[in-house]
């Protein structure tokens, strides 16, 4: 059993597609449809990270939502540790979800302003029925999760508005970590943060990966961040994969014209000064 489970990839996405129905434009016109995602397949091994890049409207966030089972695909499957997440429902899905958690883009919108940090961080484990977990145990686990992201136990009794943007994103990461997930889906986790804070959060995410062997599905429009964080890169354009491969290879020898266009558009990238500094 153990031998089999090591050979099973952490996440397999097979020919995934999502079509949205558009509103009727006229009484006798057929209903239009938008293919937001089509024929996306990839495999993610434990401990590895995959970056998903593309412009807005390319289907990045749709992919993240489908992997998280927050949305139902019209075609294809998402298989997490050998289980199809879209064929799993109710309590079984809740149990399965403890293995994959999500960090959202906006640290201001993703934390309930009326809840204290303790309630926010422990929410993912409260839904898992574990009667043995008393209040003190919940608090201990929350404190531990906070310390892992560099916050203090005293912060448990504060409200989100008492924290800066970077600290809020740390709370969101602590909430994702508390179930001990194998996969964290991060949808633009640092794009709302300032440069110096962004560096702190990225370093934290890399430290956590080294410590717990986490995998990230990292959605971002910032190619420099993806280059730093990810082993593999998936380039999406209009819902289709135009390029997929190891990050090094794609960033140094992009084959598809769209990938090259994205790379060329990174501000400051063509300056020799910045390149020479990296050596």
């Amino acid at each position: 059993m153990n031998e089999i489970s090591t050979s099973v990839p952490l996440l397999q996405v097979k020919r995934l597609g999502r079509r949205f129905a558009l509103p009727r434009t006229g009484l006798f016109q057929p209903v239009g449809a938008l293919q937001a995602l089509a024929d996306v397949s990839f495999t993610l091994q434990p401990g590895k990270s995959l970056g998903v890049v593309g412009e807005s409207g390319s289907g990045k966030s749709t992919l993240a939502r489908l992997v998280m089972a927050l949305d139902t695909p019209t075609e294809g499957q998402v298989v997490f540790k050998g289980v199809d997440v879209h064929q799993t429902h109710g309590q079984a899905l809740r149990q399965l979800r403890s293995g994959f958690q999500m960090v959202f883009q906006d640290p201001y919108g993703s934390l309930d302003p009326r809840q204290k940090v303790l309630a926010i961080v422990t929410e993912p484990i409260k839904t898992l029925v574990e009667p043995a977990d008393g209040r003190t145990e919940l608090r201990d686990r929350a404190a531990q999760a906070l310390s892992e992201v560099g916050l203090r136990t005293a912060d448990l009794d504060k409200y989100p508005h008492e924290f800066s943007g970077g600290q809020r994103q740390r709370i969101a990461i602590a909430r994702a970590l508390i179930t001990r997930p194998a996969l964290i889906v991060a949808d633009e986790p640092v794009s709302a943060l300032d440069v110096s804070v962004q560096a702190q959060v990225l370093n934290l995410m890399m430290d956590l990966q080294d410590r717990y062997g986490l995998s990230y599905l990292f959605v971002s429009h910032d190619l420099a961040v993806v280059n730093l964080m990810c082993d593999d890169v998936l380039v999406l354009q209009s819902g289709r994969v135009v390029e997929h491969g190891p990050a090094q290879q794609i960033f140094q020898h992009a084959e598809h014209a769209y990938t090259r266009k994205l790379l060329a558009a990174v501000p400051g990238s063509r300056d020799p000064f910045l390149e020479q500094e990296t050596t």
């Binding site: 600290q167 300032d194 110096s196 702190q200 370093n203 420099a224 280059n227 730093l228 990174v266 501000p267």
Partner: protein, 334 residues
């Protein structure tokens, strides 16, 4: 009058200070900002949130909160703007200086078709008739290269994409051919590919009209490609300013150095830890009396917290008019 204006700088800001009321009393949000710029010059303002860069723009436009206390001087072609009564300020705003805001979705009125919004400054400042203003709006939309401009005159903001909306914003700002254009994070809400197009467009229009551009951004890479001169702001003060190539080649202030080091760049090996600036930007009320950066600075000594740093000139190799100045007595340390 006309020969006077040729010798006067387009914009001269001297020791601009702004205090804002907070729950804990008056907080100094701008602590003595000074610079001057000429027509045709492009100046970049870099800083993180809370550094005072947007507040500087609002002070120039006379859009500060009503209770804010302002001191110092802002002169636009010799005319003093600090303390100018609101009706006079209204005549300047949109006509001689204009602003492009960060979020084109919230800055545009969702209930008016775009031509009306472009026509508004024309009708107010140049007293154009509605039909003339609509014709001018079409020219402006053509100028900002909005595809199928004629059909889109009657479109509402929600029918346009982010990049298209930002083009509409630019055409509103340009409607009355202002002398000074302020762009506050004009491309932050846009995709990288669209970002580049919009910046190139602003750049081209500024060059054609010879106006002054103040570009505000937190993105260092973006500044490098777009402006002649960069000012780095921290804690409500300009900590370093220099010609763009000079600043990128010789970063003097510890904060500027920290910002550069913290930025992820293409070509870094996977898993490389970024160099971070410890801590975070303090609350306005909690700035030390001396250097605002002292608590996060690795070079700081006790004196930094007590004495406000003076701007110091660095001898730059490029002997042009833009001096390289840094507000840190310890910048020579590695």
């Amino acid at each position: 009058m006309s020969d006077l204006s040729s010798t006067q700088p387009l914009l001269q800001v001297d020791d601009l200070r702004v205090s804002l009321p907070t729950a804990r009393g008056w907080a100094q949000a701008l602590r003595g900002v000074s610079w001057r710029m000429e027509r045709g010059q492009t100046v970049g303002l870099i800083g993180e949130s809370g550094s005072g860069k947007s507040l500087t723009a609002l002070a120039l436009m006379g859009l500060l909160p009503e209770r804010a206390r302002v001191s110092g001087s802002i002169t636009l072609q010799g005319q003093e703007l600090v303390g100018l009564p609101e009706p006079q300020m209204c005549q300047l705003r949109g006509a001689r200086m204009a602003m492009i805001f960060q979020e084109p979705m919230t800055a545009l009125n969702p209930l008016h078709p775009i031509w009306k919004q472009i026509a508004e400054p024309l009708r107010l400042h140049q007293h154009m008739s509605a039909s003339d203003a609509k014709a001018r709006a079409l020219q402006l939309l053509d100028r900002v290269q909005l595809p199928r401009a004629r059909e889109r005159l009657d479109a509402y903001p929600h029918e346009l994409s982010g990049g298209q909306r930002q083009r509409v914003m630019i055409s509103i700002a340009l409607a009355c051919s202002p002398d000074l254009l302020i762009a506050d994070e004009p491309t932050t809400a846009l995709d990288v590919t669209v970002q580049k197009e919009v910046l190139q467009l602003i750049q081209q229009l500024v060059r054609e009209d010879g106006m002054g551009l103040l570009l505000i951004s937190h993105d260092l890479g973006l500044m490098q490609d777009q402006v002649d001169r960069v000012m780095v702001m921290y804690g409500g003060a300009v900590v370093e300013s220099a010609a763009t190539p000079e600043l990128f080649a010789h970063r003097a202030h510890p904060y500027t150095r920290g910002l550069f080091a913290a930025r992820p760049r293409l070509g870094l090996a996977r898993g490389t830890r970024l160099t971070t600036i410890p801590g975070s930007v303090p609350e306005l009320m909690d700035f030390p009396a001396g250097c605002a950066f002292a608590d996060r600075c690795s070079l700081a000594v006790e004196d930094c917290r007590l004495t406000p740093p003076q701007a110091e000139s660095i001898h730059s190799e490029a002997a042009d008019e833009t001096p390289h100045s840094v507000s840190c007595p310890r910048w020579r340390l590695p």
